[in-house]
């Protein structure tokens, strides 16, 4: 079977790729896509630890499953609000590049 470490390393790599995207991309939609990558990396970790914990305890554990489900719900809510904000800002400023979003400067 697969060592736990492989999942943790793969999730860490995916998280760092997402972090790079968040910090370096210009377009707000790209930044949201990178955030999705980071959330997925966290979910891989949670599911891997759910498996590990269930294996140690001998019965299926419910708490990690609830945690994973919450991450799914939060991700869906976050992406819905984020994309609505991007569309709203685009309507006012004709841009979705974060450098040019200066609506709060007054």
């Amino acid at each position: 079977m697969i060592p736990l470490s492989w999942y943790l390393i793969a999730a860490a790599a995916l998280f760092c790729i997402g972090l790079f995207g968040v910090l370096s991309r210009k377009n707000a939609v790209s930044i949201l896509m990178s955030i999705e990558l980071m959330l997925n990396a966290v979910n891989i970790n949670l599911v891997a630890f759910w498996h590990y914990h269930s294996q140690i305890q001998g019965v299926s554990q419910v708490a990690p499953q609830v945690f994973v489900a919450m991450v799914f719900i939060i991700a869906a809510a976050e992406v819905a609000v984020g994309l609505a904000l991007i569309i709203s800002a685009y309507k006012r400023r004709e841009t979705s590049v974060v450098d040019e979003m200066t609506l709060l400067k007054g």
Binding site: S5, E36, A75, V97
Partner: protein, 173 residues
């Protein structure tokens, strides 16, 4: 090396490569399509962890809903990003360096854990116990409050999203 390990390695490499292409490709639509491949890879990783339910939920929620929403937004805000325009900031090497350092720190820190090399064995029959999971979500002694708060949050987020993105008549003129 067992067959499952080979499957894991192939899927992990595809997932990480498409993740890299999400942040590296110039055309936004291409990165959205790479994102779908990456999310599918994560779903297969869930499958290798015997979490078939979450693999299906991943496909339904992420590939079915979230990526379609992202593609809609890209099409609504398309022409701002010329395809020859670089998609990353000028000093992109600094975030890249930070990400590599963070990965090194994470990997080094996790490697100090005693059970880091633990093998994930096959769980006994009915590994997911979905009936127990569903019962725990609506059990007052379990997780009914987080569950209800999450549903209210989701409803509020969707209503808020419609309100934010809707046309405002008074500002139209």
């Amino acid at each position: 090396m067992s067959g499952l390990q080979v499957v894991f390695l192939i899927v992990a490499i595809v997932t990480l490569f498409s993740g890299l292409m999400v942040v590296a490709s110039r055309k936004m639509m291409h990165s959205a399509l790479w994102l779908i491949l990456s999310l599918l890879g994560v779903a297969i990783l869930f499958g290798t962890l015997q979490a078939g339910f979450f693999a299906i939920v991943q496909i339904l929620v992420y590939i079915g809903a979230i990526s379609i929403l992202i593609i809609f937004t890209l099409m609504l805000t398309r022409r701002v990003m010329d395809d020859d325009h670089p998609g990353v900031i000028k000093g992109w090497w600094l975030p890249a360096l930070m990400a590599v350092i963070l990965f090194g720190l994470l990997a080094g820190f996790m490697a100090t854990w005693d059970n880091f090399q633990a093998m994930l064995n096959e769980l006994p029959a009915n590994p997911e116990n979905l009936a127990g999971f569903g019962a725990a979500l609506v059990d007052p002694a379990g997780y009914v409050i987080p569950f209800e708060v999450a549903s209210v949050l989701l409803l509020a987020a969707l209503v808020g999203a419609i309100y934010i993105a809707a046309e405002r008549k008074e500002k139209a003129g």
